[in-house]
Amino acid sequence: MLVSVNWLNNYVDTSSVSPEELAELITKTGIEVDGIDYFAEQSSNVVVGHVDACEQHPNADKLNLCQVDVGEEKLQIICGAPNVRQGQKVAVAKPGAVLPGNVKIKKTKLRGVESNGMICSLQELGIAEKYVPKDVADGIFVFPKDTAIGADVQRLLNLDDAVLEFDLTPNRADALSMLGVAYETAAILDTELTLPDEHVHTDSEQASDYISVGVDAADLNPYYGAFIVKDIDIKPSPLWMRNALMAAGIRPINNVVDITNYVLLEYGQPLHAFDYDRFGSKHVVVRRAGDNERMTTLDGEERTLSSDNLVITNGQEPVALAGVMGGANTEVNDDTKTILLEAAYFSPQAVRATVRDTGLRSDSSARFEKGVDPNRVERAGLRACHLLEKYAGATVLTGPIVFDELDRTEKTVTITEKLINHRLGTVITSAEIETILNKLQFPFVKHDDMFTVTVPTRRGDIAIFEDMLEEVARMYGYDNLPYTLPEGSSQAGGLTKQQELKREISSYLQGAGLMETMTYSLTDEASIERLVSPELRAKEPKPVRLPMPMSEDHNYLRLSMVPELLKSVAYNRARSQMDISYFEMGNVFVTNEQTLSQQPSENLRLAGAMTGMWLRHPWQHEQKQVDFYLVKGVLEGLFAYLAIPISFEQTKLTDMHPGRCASILIDGRIVGFLGQTHPVLEKELDLGETFVFDIDLDQVMDFYTNTTSYEPIPKYPAIARDIAFIVDEDVLAGDIKETIEKEGAPLVKNVRIFDVYKGDNLPEGKKSIAYSLFYQDPEKTLQDDEVEQSYQTIVASVNEKFDSYVRS
């Protein structure tokens, strides 16, 4: 909603504040003012002149040589506008004038003839092209004949007007009208309000001789008023009205159209004028459209309707889509003499349905959709009639003819001083409440500290105590509310166990050198089946596709975060960021349903992607590329930190390197995987060797306890023993380690692999794996023979199980 301050001043005197101060006050009290637009950039030295003479330029066909009287002097001006004529009153920029865009007007010579100024178009005076009336769009603007010569054009055209841009919340439909804004402004400034003149002369002719009104859908159209206005002289509307409409962002057309638009903005009540002589009957019938019924709206489009749409008909065929747009056949034109002026209440649902079906949105439909003030419908019609009498020389027949089942009841809301203060935490007195209600012009009855407030129908948003509480609070001023802290029961706040786990994981991984990312939960079709963790894949989840996505890149609920992480890696590589170590925690969405009937379960997961060099330190010849064991080390460290034992099993997964992929297990259950992505996929996505992991944190949660107990520091020394086995190449180091741990328990506290060797000095197909064993007894100092005995048991057991022998 654009609010011209000049226009607003018709109802309420705002001269005590500047437009900026007014905007600030309105914003603080209820309606956000997004900005202030000065209607046009300032110009100076532009006055009204009379074209005394106008003849063709001696040396140019398309130029006119004009003698213009601007009051204190006469100027010879060369003008190129096609519509300049002798006898016109025009806007003259005198020499020394400055026009918008810092255009300076100087004396000059055009084709050898002196020109002392410029006759201006509205565009040259700074009015946006789209608001300029079409009849003067290609030429200069012509003032009414009675305009005084020498008058300041800036003032006459309202070019100094400030326009406030309201950002209305849906509840404040009342401010979709200048009167609504005037009520609000009067309340804020605590000033008088002057309402517009609605007086209409009585006429001997009866509207009922011309028209009857029937409504077949009273639920959608509880009020229809038909005014008959005769003897109309179609011409431009008065300058002040054209100015007002342009400031509000509406292009002036002619007096009848401008008056209906003006009243629409003034009252918030849409009106429609039909050309009575082309209406086709003497009967207005409002009804639901038939299915597949057709009509041509005044934009020239043929519309196919349904029974959801309300139409105005002449008894036979539709002449308007109720509240949305009129028909082409009955549109007012230059020859119109008599109009049928419609002032009606169309229900929000009816108009919303038509807007939805046709895609037509207008200033009218926007107001009907939010609900117009039932007490202003007929008054708006009268106001338009008043203006038609005055500015179109029209005669208003005695009427209007109405269909009226409109509920105009005003709601009442009861408030008490005590409850107001109880809810706000304030000390507002009864007298202050009284003042506020008076400023808002809400009638009320007072009993002790209780107010029974009658809510005017213009404020359809107020229905319950809390609504009235807001009215009192905003007028009292939120700045005046005290700062208090809750007095209620106190409780200890905190994180859930899962949130603590997430924070622990994040802090560990950051310390380990990984960066946290945030990717999109919605992925694309190519990625949806990719890199789903084996334990999740085993549940056979069904991909969930959005029925109405915004883009094909984001149209599936993800089953894995890894594909989106890989996209981030590729994005960085494409920008020469080659070394990436990323992790993310987030949900994937799991369902077995082909067609969703309930929410998918949301599975919290940890995923990561690592690639490039982990360490680059060339001058000391140290560098380390990210590899499987680096990533595995990070995860082993993480789970050691979480005090959750994990193990790894070689596995094969689609899209993963067949020889470099492991599933991750806790207590024998698969909880995720890690490994290198398949080289074919790496090539497709433009990745280097990239390692990824994906872990189900919901399962990890089952094993996570965030309480740590005390374990005494060992008092007795540990003894280390190294041992190397020679085994077949396909024997897994981890399997041997497991056997060592099992056989060595409880004295073997720790087993470390410190060397793996293949090649010279070993038979073909064999490898050597060397282990460090740490023996410790918490109770006493270990004896050599104890260790030796255990060592022998381990060797025997490993050799038997893995067909190995000890390397000497």
Binding site: L481, G488, Q491, A492
Partner: protein, 349 residues
């Protein structure tokens, strides 16, 4: 004999003085003090001395031994120091060469902001709750006073999966769920961070996915001034003690009265600048008193219980705080963006 001894002393001390390395000193020590050394051999001839002379010569000999020993020790010390210095000199390195890089990670900026807000409200006794991202129409809209057909419920804005299921458009359903869980008889004091989704085309200021953090406090006597007090505390901790807040009327279907909270602009200190669009204020969050319909639907008697709620967008806070001009930065995960915010804590807006 005395002359002999004095000669040894002179000779030995002169040699010690000249000695240039530890080996020479060792040789000197052997030459004079060793078993076959000259001092020793002189002393062996003591037997030929008279009874009176013996103690005198003996004392002299001991003095000389002591003097030589001391001098050798002193000189050893000097030579050792010199040798060490020489060695260390040779060990000198070029300190301008680069060090071995340490791999560092860090949090995502949005996580930093969310955790900072979480910790602040935990300190005020709020618990942190989360809820599903795929929500039912009921919890996302109906339970929040947005019945079917409500004009503020713009279908175009919501990713519907079915007629009843959708990607949540705000984290408010967590409030409804939590209230229901508390069953209408207990106070609720919670914040809920999380991801939300809107049917928007991604551009510099729109994202189909973003984050929100909302708060809710329901109890027997919650006043609007409590909301103002809590938000003021939040604003001062988050943005600086010198910040002022202001509440402006606004509209949300789930609160009445509804307000928006602005904080005074740091850049211009309220005078008006391009950051605050000349207003002196920056909009930070929406809030209000919980609408009685919302309380009622969750099982709370609005005659007995009142509450306040607030909600904000970490992206917006981050963008304002750091002057980030494109919301897509949060989701493209450009390393050069992520690393800029690895040390974010506190700070000003």
């Amino acid at each position: 004999m005395k002359e002999q001894l004095e000669a040894i002393r002179r000779e030995a001390l002169a040699k010690i003085d000249k000695a240039a390395d530890l080996n020479t000193l060792q040789d000197i020590k052997v030459t004079y003090l060793g078993k076959k050394g000259s001092l020793t051999s002189v002393l062996r001839g003591m037997g030929s001395l008279s009874k009176e002379e013996r103690p005198v010569v003996g004392e002299l000999a001991n003095n000389i031994r002591e003097a030589i020993t001391n001098e050798i020790a002193k000189k050893t010390d000097v030579l050792e120091k010199a040798a060490l210095e020489e060695k260390l000199e040779k060990e000198a390195i070029d300190v301008t060469l680069p060090g071995r890089p340490v791999h560092v990670g860090g949090p995502h900026l949005l996580t930093s902001i969310i955790e900072e807000i979480e910790d602040l409200f935990i300190g005020m006794g709020f618990e942190v709750r989360e809820g599903p991202e795929v929500e039912t129409d009921y919890y996302n809209f109906e339970a929040l006073n947005l019945p079917k057909g409500h004009p503020a419920r713009d279908m175009q804005d919501t990713f519907y999966l079915t007629n009843e299921l959708l990607l949540r458009t705000h984290t408010s359903p967590v409030q409804a769920r939590t209230m229901q869980q508390y069953g209408g008889s207990q106070s609720v004091k919670m914040i809920c961070p999380g991801k939300v989704y809107r049917r928007d085309t991604d551009d510099a200021t729109h994202s189909h996915q973003f984050t929100q953090i909302e708060g809710l406090y329901v109890d027997k006597h919650v006043r609007m001034s409590d909301l103002k007090g809590v938000l003021n505390k939040f604003a001062k901790s988050m943005f600086g003690d010198d910040r002022k807040i202001r509440l402006r009327p606004s509209f949300f279907p789930f609160t009445e009265p509804s307000v928006e909270m602005d904080i005074s602009c740091k850049v211009c200190e309220g005078v008006g600048c391009s950051v605050c669009k000349q207003s002196g204020w920056i909009e930070i969050l929406g809030a209000g008193m919980v609408h009685p319909n919302v309380l009622e639907m969750a099982g709370y008697d609005p005659e007995k219980y009142t509450g306040f709620a607030f909600g904000m967008g970490p992206e917006r806070i981050a963008m304002l705080k750091y002057g980030i001009d494109d919301i897509r930065n949060f989701y493209t995960n450009d390393k050069r963006f992520l690393t800029q915010y690895h040390h974010v804590k506190g700070g000003t807006l």
